[in-house]
């Protein structure tokens, strides 16, 4: 499915990134997929060469997770241009109240749907023309049906620091730095894992949460395995810049619980995809960020 997303992603991304390329990132499974495709065509050194991966098949996804810069939401003209780009490419806003104005859907046939989710990091208090609550970050005053919101993604902290830029088919793409990516994925895995343990939830719901937790845990490993040498060097600057943030601390707690608790959950859900030494190396890289910060 990931490859099939390209014809839908490409024009949308080009339209949105033309508003200011530095203001937008492709995150989530599709961002990892694109980075992997790029690196496979390069000689660039990464933490674990693809030849050593036990499962180098990118995971399938139907979601486009786009992290919008806060200035893109705050600027009325750019904000409405994002909406226009989505609508031009056939995406329609989700009608669910919780998802409204940050989740967009596109039907590609009777049974298949592509979902584009817009995310935004937490704004500083002093940013003009922005309002945020637990769920969303939006323009102030409200643009009503003419604008977009960003889903309030606390974990996108540091996403504007040293993002990774590359080009596929003449399209310039930007994805988050691996530290931010690990924060997003560790917290997502942890939240789903916590939900899967809630006995009051229906079993089907808990099973879904278990699967999602496992998916995000595997993405953590992939994000680290694909870290380039320059990204590795930059991590030394990124970690201190975000180490005091709440999301980083949550990721830190999940890291410790996943790798070092008695049940060795991370090893159980992701260990089989890596050679033992490589899995240890992934842990060591995370450990250098989360235990020394």
């Amino acid at each position: 499915m990931s490859n099939d997303l390209w014809p839908h992603f490409r024009p949308l991304w080009q339209d949105i990134s033309s508003l200011g390329q530095s203001k937008c990132l492709v995150a989530g499974g599709y961002g990892l997929y694109l980075k992997q495709q790029f690196l496979l065509s390069q000689q660039e050194r990464i933490v674990i060469p693809f030849g050593q991966w036990l499962d180098a098949t990118p995971r399938a996804t139907r979601d486009l997770d786009l992290v919008l810069g806060l200035d893109l939401i705050a600027d009325e003209a750019q904000n409405t241009a994002v909406l226009a780009a989505l609508e031009n490419q056939g995406f329609a806003v989700s009608e669910k109240p919780h998802d409204k104005r940050w989740k967009f859907l596109k039907s590609i046939d009777a049974n298949q749907l592509i979902i584009a989710e817009l995310h935004s990091p937490t704004p500083d208090d002093e940013v003009e023309h922005l309002a945020s609550d637990r769920v969303r970050v939006k323009h102030k005053p409200s643009l009503g049906d003419d604008g977009v919101h960003g889903r309030h993604n606390h974990e996108a902290v540091g996403g504007d620091l040293r993002p990774f830029r590359f080009t596929i088919d003449e399209v310039n793409i930007t994805v988050p730095n691996p530290v931010t990516w690990s924060v997003m994925k560790l917290v997502a895995a942890g939240d789903y894992r916590d939900r899967s343990a809630e006995t009051t939830r229906p079993s089907e719901n808990r099973q879904f949460a278990r699967n999602q937790a496992s998916k995000h845990a595997n993405d953590v490993c992939r994000a680290i395995a694909m870290m380039t040498i320059d990204e590795g060097d930059s991590a030394g600057d990124i970690v201190p810049a975000i180490a005091d943030s709440e999301p980083f601390k949550r990721a830190q707690a999940y890291f410790e619980a996943f790798f070092f608790a008695e049940d060795r959950w991370m090893e159980a859900v992701a260990g089989a995809n890596w050679q033992a030494d490589d899995f240890q190396l992934i842990q060591d890289v995370l450990s250098s960020w989360y235990t020394t910060a």
Binding site: Q43, R45, P49, I229, G232, L281, D284, V285, S288
Partner: protein, 376 residues
């Protein structure tokens, strides 16, 4: 194992080579005309009652040279005119498939104490059995001439074999040792002597008077490669900004042996890119680290160099003569970088992954036939 023990174990078995049973044996006294044989062995094929009489030579050493000599002697013995025609037979603790083939080609039967053997009676019988492992490993060689310091003896012969101006021949043991020392190896005279004897037993070297010749370079290459199991004590990954400058620094450290491994020297001998990190064997990791201007790197794939602490002599042997040539065929000194020799490179590649093994094939051709490449 001595001859007495070999004889008693052979006689106790009662079987020559299944299904051939030993019917009767006689120890050689009084066999004046049977010189070269130790036993008269009468065997029977139970299925049809056919009987065969062998003159058996007991050879407690299973080395190629020992078996080869025993074959010559027992054949000569059996060719002598006598009333009773005798079939030649060798008995040894262990006979490898190579030795069994040699026996078969020579028309001589041979059995060992491990269940391997060949019985060859032209026009009447051929039994061949191999695959049982050697239960008497000490019977094979007098030492391990393909590993560690001892391997330098074989290596120095090969380095001469690959040199268009050289010959794989030395006039004395002293010359062998001198050539090893000249190429950076450290070895005593007694180690040279033992290794030469062992290689002679393997029929890889031959001696005439004091002179020593390499007669089986292909076999020597194969044995060196299969014995290659270097012991690495510690490893350290490092980031460096200027590798050439670091090479100069290492060269300036007294008492430090160092060399780029064969795996990382491959581009000097074949069109093959190994990629980073450059692996460097060092005799002391702490001494090397102290003298490098480098940063420790925890991610192996991000390292520019990887230091391997090892005392394996093969890494450091014959590394100091690497010279490349410019477009005008003038030699360029490579600022003292100790690249591995072509032989060391081949040994490591042949033990490597399938891609490396493929490249090893290209390099092997240059190891014995006089090479044309610019490295001398």
């Amino acid at each position: 194992m001595d001859t007495q023990l070999l004889q008693s174990q052979f006689l106790d078995s009662g079987v020559l080579l299944d299904p051939l049973r030993v019917e009767a044996t006689a120890i050689s006294p009084g066999w004046g005309t049977y010189r070269g044989a130790d036993l008269r062995v009468e065997a029977i094929l139970p299925s049809d009652g056919q009987r065969f009489v062998f003159a058996a030579a007991l050879q407690p050493r299973s080395t190629p040279k020992a078996i080869h000599q025993a074959i010559m002697e027992i054949r000569f013995c059996c060719q002598q005119e006598r009333d009773e025609p005798l079939l030649p037979l060798i008995v040894s603790p262990y006979l490898s498939a190579e030795r069994l083939n040699e026996l078969e080609e020579a028309g001589v039967s041979g059995v060992d104490l491990c269940g391997n053997g060949v019985i060859t009676i032209p026009g009447r019988l051929l039994i061949y059995r191999t695959g049982n492992s050697n239960s008497y490993p000490d019977s094979r060689t007098v030492s391990a001439p393909f590993r560690g310091k001892s391997s330098l003896v074989g290596r120095v012969f090969l380095s001469h074999a690959a040199n268009p101006d050289g010959a794989a021949k030395f006039d004395s043991l002293g010359d062998v040792r001198d050539a090893i020392l000249e190429k950076g190896g450290m070895i005593s005279m007694s180690q040279v002597s033992k290794a030469v004897s062992a290689l002679e037993e393997e029929r890889i070297l031959n001696t005439r008077g004091r002179s020593i010749f390499l007669v089986e370079p292909d076999q020597l290459l194969t044995e060196l490669a299969s014995a290659w199991r270097p012991s690495i004590k510690r490893k350290l990954n490092l980031r460096v900004t200027d590798w050439e400058q670091q090479a100069e620094r290492l060269s300036a450290v007294p008492d430090l042996d160092w060399a780029v491994t064969g795996e990382s020297s491959v581009s000097k001998y074949a069109a093959f890119s190994q990629g980073k990190p450059i692996r460097i064997a060092v005799s002391s990791l702490s001494l090397a680290r102290e003298n490098l201007d480098a940063k420790d790197e925890s991610i192996p794939n991000f390292a520019d160099i990887e230091l391997l602490e090892t005392s394996e002599s093969g890494f450091y042997f014959d590394t100091k003569h690497v010279v490349t040539r410019n477009l005008f065929d003038q030699p360029i000194d490579e600022i003292g970088t100790h690249w591995a020799s072509a032989l060391q490179t081949w040994i490591e590649l042949v033990n490597g992954d399938p891609r490396q093994q493929e490249v090893a094939g290209e390099i092997r051709d240059k190891l014995i036939i006089a090479p044309d490449y610019s490295l001398t």
